[in-house]
């Protein structure tokens, strides 16, 4: 259950960064002095300073909030959409399936970054919600495809026929039988995707359409770090460590989740 612990800690950071940010120094991510710009770690500032001369440790801690919020919102959104679409396509087959599958094809084939840029530029406000919304818009198709596949495998099983035999309607069959039995691979993939989402948030910032300073997020930090990494490597290293640990936590959590909802393994 290491994964759950890691994810819990990260979520705690996201919910109450002020509790952690002050461990080593003043803990105010916005108390900045340009004179300290990009200075390496020193007493009271274990991670050093960012280019604006702000304490990097406090910033990384505060950065969890936006990054985790986006990761969770997006994961939730993509899973919900994917489950709905995957179920409709896999369960009802026929025309529904064909339309949904073609839609998925288009979304998968179209360069997602281009789409995201266009939409975010149109939206003009770039906060956690809009960024998540756009990531959901382009993130669901891959999951939906997986979901459809696993729904297809499940709907042909005998316990679905049995449920139909005792008079269960489509809604009940989908909610009680199909979804619990087919969501496993989606959970795993969603766990795997969390890292990708945080990375994508950063890519959007890099492209100028993501979260923007003074918003504090790992994506924004990495984007800035990227410009300075030859001279100030610490800007890149510390957010990356947090990011990677988070990603690993979510990947393992996805695996654990699949096992947890599978009584056969318990």
């Amino acid at each position: 259950m290491i994964s759950a612990t890691v994810v819990l800690i990260i979520c705690a950071l996201a919910v109450a960064p002020q509790a952690f940010a002050g461990w080593f120094g003043h803990g105010d991510p916005r108390a900045c002095d340009l004179a300290d710009s990009a200075l390496p770690p020193r007493e009271g500032h274990p991670f050093g300073f960012d280019v604006q001369g702000c304490d990097l440790y406090a910033n990384v801690i505060y950065g969890a909030r936006s990054s985790v919020a986006i990761a969770l919102l997006t994961t939730l959104g993509t899973v919900v959409v994917a489950v709905v679409v995957g179920c409709l396509a896999g369960y009802f087959r026929g025309w529904t399936d064909m339309l949904m599958s073609r839609l998925v094809d288009v979304f998968l084939g179209f360069p997602a970054l281009v789409g995201m840029i266009v939409i975010l530029q149109t939206l003009s406000t770039h906060n956690e919600f809009t960024v998540s919304a756009v990531l959901i818009l382009f993130g669901w198709p891959a999951l939906a495809r997986v979901m459809r596949g696993s729904v297809l495998a499940v709907v042909n099983s005998e316990y679905i026929a049995a449920a139909r035999g005792i008079g269960a309607g489509p809604v009940r069959i989908l909610l009680r039988h199909v979804i619990p039995n087919s969501i496993g691979p989606v959970a795993v993939l969603a766990g795997l995707n969390v890292g990708g989402i945080i990375a994508y948030e950063s890519a959007l910032t890099f492209l100028g359409v993501g979260l923007q300073t003074p918003a504090i997020s790992w994506g924004v930090q990495l984007n800035t770090a990227q410009q300075y990494f030859t001279t100030s490597i610490h800007l890149l290293v510390f957010p990356s460590i947090f990011l990677t640990v988070t990603v690993l936590g979510f990947v393992l959590l996805g695996d654990a989740l699949r096992d947890a909802i599978d009584p056969r393994i318990r």
């Binding site: 340009l34 004179a35 280019v51 604006q52 100028g208 923007q212 300073t213 410009q227 300075y228 001279t231």
Partner: protein, 514 residues
């Protein structure tokens, strides 16, 4: 640089008997158009074309290039004599007609050349660009070919700075051959400059253009290298990386890489102060900024020295006035509120009734701009105690229309370069009502009349009048200059005499290959 890969032969340029050659990295914007009417005035443009005049970067004076003489009685009607013996790369002679053809093409509205506006002060411009419908004529009535080597130019109002204006690549001549296929010309121009474009020129999808020295060049500054390879990059960062890998011999560096270059390539870095200003503009249409004291307070709360020293690692000049000393007429300390004075800022803001509510600062999408804007917002927060500061960015094509439409709700960080090296140009662009780049909405009759006077005056008086006009404008604090940017030209060891062109790129013809 470190060991490059085998793909680049830039290292053996000086090899025994080998032809002198080097490669130069530029951003793709520099080579997007070659037609004078559309070109951006990059160093490549000046390698391929030579206009009538050139601005001496040392003295800041306009010198004759293709022009033999440029004279006027009233600064309105000008007689331009052209030197003999100049030829285009295809051998065609450069005549008065070559200039007239080029100018007419640009000024002709339906051609939709981007530099069209530069001819707005020429007589007949209105006929070529009617408010509605097709123009009836195709030539500027203000440009008259007197004989093969004499041009008569008539302006709509006196403008003593014409020789400066004519130094821009837009005013370069075009040969007859150009007009058979303007598209082809744009990709592979036939100019009259020290270098000619060989091969297919600029092709879609290629990142390389080869220049070859034009041996019959009639100008003073003949190129040293026989061939020059121009490589285009997405941005300066990419070009600098290639330079580090040894794939490029000279390139412009900016932003964060300047620091890196300054330490790694100490003796190979040429600093280039840009004739431009980075400023914080105030939305004069916004009620909250109506009170000049608010604007003054904001201006006083920004620590320009810290930004330049820490963020820019010293590459920049903290602004004391609108224009830096690199611009003719600049260097004056005409900004009273350009030094950090927190106490005064606070009291001024308090006098104006303090600040309440959110504050949003704007700039266009650009990594350096956003970093600086963030620093400014941090300082405003700390020094003025405005807690709810956010920043926003928009793409250029949204930000400018929104500024003109007065839809931006906060101060904005912008960059303004002088159209040509003269304080007049900068002041005109920033403060004249109706100018496309006067985004603060500043409008003042006293300033306008001073500037009109400057335009009509003789060069020596013009400067003083322009400075006076600038002082007038600055006193009203429609904007607060932050610093004058500095760039750098970094070059490999085999090159010497690397000097900047007006826009910052290396002056190609001047570069010596060892």
């Amino acid at each position: 640089a470190c060991g490059g890969t085998a793909t680049q032969d830039s290292g053996d340029g000086g090899g025994a008997g080998g032809a002198k050659t080097f490669s130069i990295g530029v951003t793709s914007y520099f080579v997007s158009h070659f037609t004078p009417g559309q070109s951006g005035g990059s160093n490549i443009d000046y390698a391929v074309f030579t206009p009538l005049t050139a601005v001496d970067s040392a003295s800041g004076q306009a010198r004759n290039a293709v022009a033999e003489s440029i004279e006027s009685e009233d600064n309105k009607v000008w007689t331009i004599k052209i030197k003999k013996g100049w030829t285009f790369h295809n051998g065609e002679e450069v005549t008065a007609q070559s200039f007239a053809d080029s100018w007419n093409a640009t000024a002709y509205g339906p051609n939709a050349m981007t530099n069209n506006y530069l001819f707005a002060d020429f007589e007949g411009y209105a006929d070529l660009n009617p408010a509605e419908g097709e123009p009836k004529t195709k030539t500027l009535s203000g440009v008259e070919v007197v004989d093969t080597h004499t041009l008569k130019v008539t302006l709509t109002k006196p403008l003593s700075l014409l020789p400066y204006i004519l130094a821009q690549s837009t005013f370069a001549p075009m040969p007859k051959a150009a007009f058979t296929d303007l598209k082809a010309f744009d990709a592979k121009p036939i100019g009259n400059g020290p270098y000619q474009v060989t091969g297919e020129g600029r092709t879609t999808g290629a990142t390389k253009i080869t220049l070859q020295r034009y041996d019959k060049y009639a100008g003073e500054l003949k190129g040293d290298a026989e061939t020059v390879e121009v490589k285009s990059y997405q941005d300066e960062v990419a070009a600098y990386r290639d330079f580090q890998a040894g794939a490029v011999d000279v390139t412009l560096v900016g932003g964060n890489n300047l620091t890196n270059a300054a330490t790694r390539y100490k003796d190979q870095l040429v600093q280039v102060p840009f004739p431009a200003v980075i400023y914080l503009g105030f939305p004069l249409w916004d009620k909250r900024f109506e009170d000049i004291k608010v604007r003054q307070a904001f201006s006083l709360a920004v620590d320009r020295d810290a930004i330049v020293k820490s963020l820019l690692r010293g590459f920049g000049q903290p602004a004391k006035g609108l224009a830096g000393s690199t611009i003719p007429g600049g260097g004056a300390q005409d900004c009273e509120f350009c030094s950090l004075d927190v106490a005064r800022a606070k009291s001024l803001l308090a006098e104006a009734g303090g600040w309440s509510g959110p504050l949003k600062l704007w700039t266009y999408q650009d990594p350096v701009n956003t970093t600086i804007l963030e620093a400014v917002s941090n300082q405003l927060r700390t020094n003025l105690g405005i807690e709810t500061i956010t920043t926003g960015t928009q793409p250029v094509d949204q930000l400018y229309p929104n500024l003109t439409a007065h839809k931006i709700d906060g101060p904005f960080l912008l960059y303004m370069g002088a159209g040509y090296p003269h304080l007049y140009a900068l002041a005109d662009q920033l403060f004249t009502k109706g100018s496309g780049t006067n985004v603060t909405g500043y409008d003042d009759e006293e300033f306008a009349s001073l500037l009109r006077k400057a335009a009509a005056a003789e060069p020596d008086q013009a400067m003083g009048l322009a400075q006076e006009a600038t002082r007038t404008a600055m006193a009203a604090v429609p904007l607060s200059p932050l610093f004058q940017p500095v760039g750098g030209l970094v070059h490999s060891k085999k090159l010497s005499n690397v000097t900047p062109e007006f826009l910052g790129g290396a002056r190609i013809a001047a570069i010596k290959v060892n």
